[in-house]
Structure formats: C-alpha cells, structure tokens
C-alpha cells in the first residue's frame, strides 16, 4: 500500500488519495489548446451546456409526466403547463434546447468540415461525433412521441413504417418495433424508456468517448497548422505566454468559452420566452387521433433534409437514398482523399463543394417541410440528386487537390 502522511490541509488530504493536483493539470491547466482558434471552437462547450439543460429540465418534467396514452397529453399540457409551479418554464427550456441543440450540432459539424478537422488523426473524433448525432436523433425522435399529440402519433407511424424496407414488406419488423399493429400503449412505453434511460446513457458514454478522442490529436486550428505541443507548452510554462502557440484549457480557453456560452444563453432564453413556436409544432397540440390524419405530416426541422431525400423518389429508391444520407457523413474522413488540413476556402474545388453542400442542405430542409407539389417537389428532387452527386464527386475532387 502507498505511504500516507498526516494531511496538512483538506486539499492535501484529498491530493494524497485522489491526486487531484495531477488530475487538475492533466484535465485543465496543462491540457493544451491552440491559440489560433475562433468562437466556433466554443460550440463543443455550448453543446455540453445545452445537454446539461436538457438533462436537468428533463428530470423536472419526469416528475409529472405520465407515459400512458390516456393521460400523457394532459399530464404535459394541463399538469405541467398549468398546475406545476414553473412547469411551463421547464417544458419550454426542454423543447427549445432539444431543437437548438441540433442547430449547434450542425454548426459544430460544419465547422469540422470547413477546417478539415476530421482527418489526419482526427477520424475518431469525427466518428464519435457522428455517433452522437445519431444518438441525439434517436433522443429527439423518442422525446417527440411523449406528449402523444397528433404529430407524435403520425410521425411515429410514418417513421416506424420505414422499417418495413419498402417492397420487402417486412411488416413484422415494424410490428416488433411498435409492439403493436399501430402506435399504442406498448409503443409509448418503450419510447419513454428509450428517451429517459437508454439513449441518454448512450449519449453520456459517447460524450466521454468523443472527449477521449480529442486528447491525442488535439483540436485543430484556424489554419490547420501542425506544431509541436511539447515545445509550445514549454514556452508557455517558461513565461512566454504571448509567443507560445498554445493556451491552457483552464482558465485561458475556458474564459473565452464562458463568454460565448453567456452570449448563447441570451439567445437561448430569448427563444424560450418569446420565440418557442418553432420548437413546439402547433399540430402536436391536438391530442393523438388514429382516425384523423393531419393535412401535413412533417418531422421536426432538423430531420427535414433527410426526409426530403426520401420523398421525391419512388418508394424503394427513396429508401435507398435515405439510407445513403444517414450513413454518408460518417464516411467523410475516408471519402476526402486530400491530405490537406486547411480551411475549405483555401482548398480550391473543395470550397465549392462545401458551400454547395450547405445551400443544398438548406434547400432540402425547406422543401422537406413544404407540401410536395409543383415547384417544391421539382426543387426537392434536384436538391436530393445534387446531394448524392456531391458525395459521389467528393473523392475525385479531393484527389485532384494540390498538396499544400
């Protein structure tokens, strides 16, 4: 057993047992971050904060929510919104956070794509990030079922139907997922379980993996520069903080993160109090009714682009295109054949690829919500084809790219 001395202070007592000084160094004061970064590198922290808000508000909602098809709607819209002190606040925070988290995830993802932060040693950061995206999608979808409104019911119906895999007609899988022929009690209970237990556990584990994956390659920087962390950190510790290319995680990086988080919270609570409508679809304030199909069925905004890739094609081709869209982002580190780590705008044709991809995703998102008629379905079709074409072209475009 290790040798223990009489402690001189509580700090010392803890340090002997938990090595808190060492941990503090490794995790904070000597966790080195490049200096040459902008506020987009704070999005990871913004995501952590948003996830914490989801977790805390969710715990409060869980105290009154009832996962029963007869009472779920009223437990949310009456009990939580009217009876429980500040229940409305928790619900608004939860709903807005669930929507905004995707905005931030998309910004975070496209920051990674723009600066090439997914390759040359950072592949695992990217892959764990995409797994987080999948987990968050599952979390959002399962959560959307819980108020048991019209959109819960019908979106649940439409999305679970996809698992029959088109002409394969594997209805057995659909029934297995639903636990019934149509969404009903068994369906609600299992999505409740997924939403409050299994998926959050997976998310927390994945966040751990994501952070661990950051450790060795370190985060990228605005110019994609590579430098010697040992040399730069030695410079910093020797007192040349201005000349060093690195900064400490705490308090250097943290102080900037905190400022970005503060500005973000202003925006976030502005949405919570004054502009929450986008996060709570009006149709879902009608209680679920299996006999009354709503005039327009659409998913929440963050799923619209992939929904629109499904829609313009015939059943089977649409499903294949949809499957393609779900996995293709994970493969980005391997489809990008260029060794350059640099901002997209300095990478020639890739710059065009990047901005086209953004415009295309926005077009898909908009068409996914608009009714599939006339000009909207034409634009949707072209945008879906463009999406696939962009990915097919990516290896060739990046192969042609000149080495830096």
């Amino acid at each position: 057993m290790a040798h223990f001395e009489k402690a001189k202070s509580i700090h010392d007592w803890l340090d002997q047992r938990l090595a808190i000084d060492k941990v503090n160094k490794v995790m904070q004061t000597e966790y080195w971050i490049p200096k040459n970064i902008n506020f987009l590198w704070a999005m990871g922290m913004v995501l952590v904060i948003t996830f914490m808000m989801l977790l805390v508000s969710g715990i409060f909602l869980l105290m009154y929510y009832q996962p029963n098809i007869a009472t779920a709607f009223d437990s949310v819209n009456y009990t939580i919104m009217r009876e429980v002190e500040f229940g409305w606040l928790w619900r608004h925070v939860h709903a807005v956070a669930a929507s905004v988290v995707f905005l931030i995830i998309y910004i975070h993802m496209f920051t990674g794509i723009y600066y090439g932060s997914y390759k040359k040693g950072r592949e695992m950061i990217w892959i764990s990030g995409m797994l987080l995206f999948v987990a968050f999608s599952a979390e959002a979808f399962s959560g959307y079922m819980l108020p048991w409104g019209q959109m819960s019911y019908w979106a649940g119906m439409v999305i679970t139907n996809l698992f029959s895999l088109g002409s394969l007609e594997m209805n057995g899988i659909v029934e297995w997922i639903r636990g019934d022929y149509v969404p009903a009690q068994a369906f609600l209970t299992r999505f409740f379980m997924l939403h409050v237990l299994l998926v959050p556990l997976a998310i927390m584990a994945l966040i751990g993996i994501h952070f661990a994956a950051l450790r060795i390659p370190h985060v990228n920087n605005q110019d994609g520069d590579e430098f010697d962390y040992d040399e730069e950190s030695a410079k910093y510790l020797a007192g040349d903080t201005k000349g060093s290319k690195v900064i400490r995680f705490a308090n250097d990086f943290l102080s900037k993160d905190l400022f970005v988080v503060a500005v973000y919270l202003i925006f976030f609570f502005y949405l919570v109090f004054w502009n929450y409508g986008f996060a709570m679809d009006p149709v879902n304030f009608d209680p679920a009714d299996g006999l009354k199909t709503p005039a327009h069925i659409y998913p929440e905004w963050y799923f619209l682009w992939s929904y629109e890739i499904l829609r313009p094609f015939s059943k089977d081709i649409g499903l294949m295109a949809f499957g393609f869209a779900q996995v293709i982002f994970v493969l980005l580190p391997f489809l990008d054949r260029s060794p350059n780590v640099a901002p997209a705008n300095r990478r020639g044709p890739f710059a065009i690829w990047f901005w086209l991809m953004i415009v295309d995703l926005i077009a898909l998102t908009a068409m996914g919500k608009l009714p599939p008629e006339g000009i909207f379905s034409t634009i949707g079709l072209y945008a879906a084809v463009t999406f696939i074409a962009l990915w097919v072209a990516l290896p060739f475009i990046t192969m042609m790219e000149k080495k830096k």
Partner: protein, 311 residues
C-alpha cells in the same frame, strides 16, 4: 473582426433556414384569411329604430322563452341542460340575458328571421329538416319594426360589454357545443365538485348523453377547445368564428355572430385555457434577461483579463 464575419455567415444561414421552414412554410400551408372585423357585411342593416318597451311584449309573445332561459329577468324553462338539448334538437339553447351585448345586432335581427341563414348553415337544413330554432313569423304588425324591437329589448336587458367576462362570452356562444376541459367546462355547463363518486358518474353519463345528441345534430362531436389557442392560434380562431365556411367549406359549425369585442374575449378565454402562464412568463423573462446580461458582462471582463497575458 474576423470573428464578426464568421458570426455573420453563421447567422445568415441560420436565419434563411428559419425563414423557410417557419414563416414561409406556414404561409404556404395555411393561406392567410383576412379578418373582416366582424362587420357581417352580407347581412342587411337594421332599417327601423327599435323600441325596447314594445320589444319586451313582442319578445314574450314571440316564443323565445319557450326554449331559452333569460335568467336576468327570472324567465326559466325549468329544464336542465340535457333535457333542454333533447327537447330542442340537440343543443341547449343559450341563455339570452346578455345576448344583446354578446351578439351583433344585425346578426340577431337576421337570426330571428332566419336562423339557418344567419348562422350560414343553410346547406344542412330544409323544409323537411328544419333548423331547431324556428324563424319568427311576426306578431301581426310591421315585421321589420318587431324584429328591431326585440333586438332593442335584448340590448336593454343585457349587461354592458365591460361586465361581460371572457368566460361568459365563451360559455354563451360556444359552450353548448364545445367542452373546455382545462377550464372545467362541459357542454352542460361548469362541472360541479361532487362529494360522492356515484353523483359524479351520473353527471358524466349525462354529459355523454348530451354529447351523443350534439353529435347527431352536428354530424360529429365538436372538439374540446382546451388547446386550440396553441394548435390554431388567435388569428385562425378569430377568422374561423367570424365565418367558419371560408376555412372549412361545408362545415356544420354555425357562424355564431358575436361582436368583435366578444370574439376578443372568447380568444382570451381560450388563451387562459391553453397558455395560462403567459403573464408570469413575461415578468420572469425580464428578470432572466437582466441576469444574463450582467453575467455576460462579467464573463467578458474575465475573458479580457485572462487574455491580456496571451496576446
């Protein structure tokens, strides 16, 4: 500077996306219907000046009190809501004590002459299947004058608009068809607190029976409106009650003919039901924002202090 350009780019793409999936998509999916400000331009103006005293007699003779309670003057049919609904075609005719304030006068005049016309449900009724409220055929004198007199009388006994609460407006104009669960309202009225379970069950059974009657009369059960303020929004509700047919052609829901003021109150009552905490929300919002602003200023000062050493 560079960070502001980046922020500008991120904001631009976010706002474009927001605009397309929210305001624009809603505009396409739900074409805008302009409010006509409850002018009821399709109905003729009253040509005669009504006389409330003559109206009292015409009203009593006109048979209205055979079906309608007028509680403020002590005229009661003696039937409860269920019996009355069953006797008069499916719904309990509303109490007329405040009808003169809640409903528009042009509408009342037209309603008295031809209920199906005023309420815009002529497509549902015919000579073989008449509207449950019979038209007033006149008391032998000048019909225009008599109708104007009844309207003047209804106005004279009604409370002024300031005394009509949102709940009164809703209960009178909508409550016979639409329950409002979150405000404790059933089609038979406010649900009492029962001491004994069996009394409550009996009441609930009566409500179900009432609903059966409404369903038969309307062709479907009018929905509970507890969350409609959220699911449809104020503008939809206002333009819908002003003229249900423009939104849902052929619908069984009648035009109820309320004044602009009553419509506003009805919407307010629905907001009380579906967005109960809106006042609290506004007041807390202010405090949270002030707190966050101060927090941001401190965060900025801290960042500046830390980064002084860094560049």
């Amino acid at each position: 500077m560079k960070e502001f350009i980046i922020l500008g780019v991120v904001t631009f793409f976010s706002l474009v996306t927001y605009y397309l999936v929210e305001p624009y998509a809603h505009h396409v999916m739900h074409p805008h219907v302009d409010s006509k400000h409850f002018a009821y331009a399709d109905l003729p103006a009253l040509e005669k000046v009504g006389n409330a005293e003559d109206g009292a007699n015409t009203f009593m003779a006109g048979g209205c009190i055979g079906c309608h309670n007028v509680e403020s003057i002590g005229m009661m049919t003696g039937m409860d809501a269920l019996a009355s609904a069953q006797a008069f075609g499916g719904v309990n005719p509303p109490d007329l004590s405040n009808a003169g304030t809640i409903y528009d006068e042009k509408f009342l005049a037209d309603l008295i002459r031809n209920p199906a016309h005023a309420t815009m449900v002529e497509h549902k009724f015919s000579d073989v299947k008449p509207h449950p409220m019979p038209p007033f055929y006149g008391a032998g004198g000048d019909m225009d004058q008599e109708v104007a007199d009844i309207v003047a009388y209804l106005k004279s006994i009604a409370k002024p608009a300031e005394e009509i609460t949102p709940a009164m407006a809703y209960n009178n104009a909508c409550g016979r068809c639409h329950s409002l669960k979150y405000e404790g309202w059933t089609q038979m009225g406010e649900k009492p607190n029962f001491k004994y379970k069996k009394d409550e069950l009996r009441y609930d059974a009566n409500v179900l029976e009432y609903q059966e009657g409404v369903t038969k009369y309307m062709g479907k059960l009018p929905p509970d409106l507890s969350m409609y303020y959220k699911s449809r929004g104020a503008h939809f509700i206002e333009t819908f009650i002003e003229d249900p047919q423009t939104h849902l052609a052929g619908t069984a829901m009648p035009r109820v003919g309320v004044t602009a003021d009553s419509a506003e109150k009805i919407v307010e009552h629905l907001a009380d039901s579906a967005d109960t905490k809106r006042v609290e929300r506004e007041s807390i919002a202010k405090n949270v924002m002030i707190y966050l602003l101060i927090f941001t200023i401190f965060a900025y000062l801290w960042k500046r202090q830390v980064w002084k050493e860094l560049h």
